[in-house]
């Protein structure tokens, strides 16, 4: 390098990279606010994948067939994988894994509000795949083009796998809808419960989302919360028709003029309460995550001890070889 770049030069270079829609990579200079925003968003995303294993994991032992059980196991395992991709992406910004885990367990970092709702029937497994993963896909596809390289690359991997999640959910619901009246009622009841929380997954309305403008200027977010919510509703309506379920919103109608569906906003007070820790399952989700972390401690300790022993063993062998060479 010829001379040391000044802060203004570094900032200008950063802005230029963003302006031409190029990617920022871990070793590039970046403004502190950009780094902080990314850590918060990626960590929250990673935590959501990890906590997201619980609502569906709830039904693993009660899946109705071996096929459904294998599918559900694969899906829950994918969520763990997604969490790991995202934790690695966050770590490229200079935070440690232990720090992230600690912030989740102490409630300093959040996860998606949707996972604080219970899964009361097996139909919920299908509804989560269809609506919750469908909403997640709407959110995540544009994030493949996010300005931070490692985050975008993680999202590409995640999106490829989410498509299996959504399709298995839809197929599960279709199967139930072809079944008995009781099964159809189960599906409808499940959709009634998950519709509003699924709409909340995109976050508060734009005029109440203070970080959106800056995140979009930095190319971290590519669309606003309301744009994505609209896209999700438009995408879901024809799918509901194929399934034969009713979306529980009497205000949901096609608006010819706008070329979009009009729909009723979810209860934003409820979202605020759930994020604030008052959802039906907040305490249970965190307690379970803490228990899994504690109960896994001996595995982590054993692996560490084994690795240390192996290293010692290798050192001894090397030493012996050296001594033999010296005396030979």
């Amino acid at each position: 390098m010829t001379g040391t770049a000044t802060d203004e030069e570094l900032e200008r270079h950063f802005e230029q990279v963003i302006a031409r829609h190029d990617r920022i990579e871990p070793r590039d200079w970046m403004p502190e606010g950009y780094r902080r925003t990314l850590v918060r968003q990626i960590a929250q995303h990673a935590h959501s994948e990890i906590i997201g294993m619980q609502p569906e994991g709830n039904w693993l032992t009660r899946a109705p067939s071996l096929r459904r059980k294998a599918v559900l196991l694969a899906k829950v395992q994918d969520e763990a994988g997604h969490g790991l991709y995202l934790y690695s992406a966050a770590e490229t910004l200079g935070v440690s894994r232990a720090e992230l885990v600690e912030k989740l367990l102490t409630g300093k970092q959040k996860y998606s509000s949707i996972f604080n709702y219970p899964t009361l029937s097996y139909a919920d497994v299908g509804t989560i795949g269809w609506l919750v993963d469908g909403a997640a896909i709407c959110n995540q596809v544009p994030l493949c083009r996010t300005s931070y390289g490692p985050y975008g690359r993680a999202m590409i991997r995640v999106c490829k796998e989410e498509s299996f999640h959504q399709r298995q959910g839809f197929e599960l619901l279709m199967t139930m809808m072809r079944g008995t009246d009781e099964q159809r009622a189960m599906v409808q009841e499940s959709v009634d419960r998950f519709w509003w929380p699924a709409l909340m997954m995109f976050g508060p309305p734009d005029d109440d989302s203070p970080n959106t403008a800056q995140s979009m200027a930095w190319g971290i977010k590519r669309d606003t919360n309301d744009e994505l919510r609209q896209k999700f509703v438009d995408m879901t309506v024809p799918q509901a028709e194929v399934l034969g379920v009713t979306l529980p919103d009497p205000g949901l109608v096609w608006n010819e003029e706008r070329g979009h569906h009009d729909f009723t906003q979810p209860d934003w007070e409820e979202l605020r309460a759930v994020i604030g820790g008052e959802g039906p399952c907040n305490a249970q989700r965190l307690a379970h995550r803490q228990r899994a972390h504690d109960e896994g401690a001996w595995v982590r300790e054993a692996a560490t001890a084994y690795a240390a022993k192996q290293r010692l063993h290798e050192q001894h062998e090397q030493q012996e070889r050296h001594e033999q060479e010296a005396t030979g």
């Binding site: 690695s88 232990a98 991997r157």
Partner: protein, 97 residues
């Protein structure tokens, strides 16, 4: 926290998608040792036949050109456009070129 994950070294993971291709960087993970890094990489990065071979290398063993990805190290390549085939004008009707 005793023996937390934070104490395990970071490994970078490279996967060969299929025979005939290079290993490509796919991400990173923490593991207690080299052998478990390979096993973890298999579970995290190749659940759908994404690879036929995995390399793992401790992140602290990598030497990189830095601090910026746009480094003067790459500058010499910038002014040697004659290294690229498009530098040479050849008539359109020359076959197999």
């Amino acid at each position: 926290m005793t023996a937390s994950q934070g104490e395990w070294p970071l490994y970078e993971v490279f996967v060969r998608g299929k025979r005939g291709l290079n290993h490509v960087h796919v991400g990173s993970l923490h593991a207690a040792d080299d052998a478990s890094a390979v096993r973890n990489a298999r579970d995290v990065y190749t659940r759908r036949n994404e690879g036929v071979s995995i390399w793992v290398v401790r992140a602290d063993a990598i030497t990189a050109s830095s601090p910026d990805e746009k480094d003067p190290l790459f500058a010499p390549a910038g002014d040697k456009v004659y290294r690229h085939p498009t530098f040479y004008a050849v008539p359109d009707d020359v076959p197999h070129m």
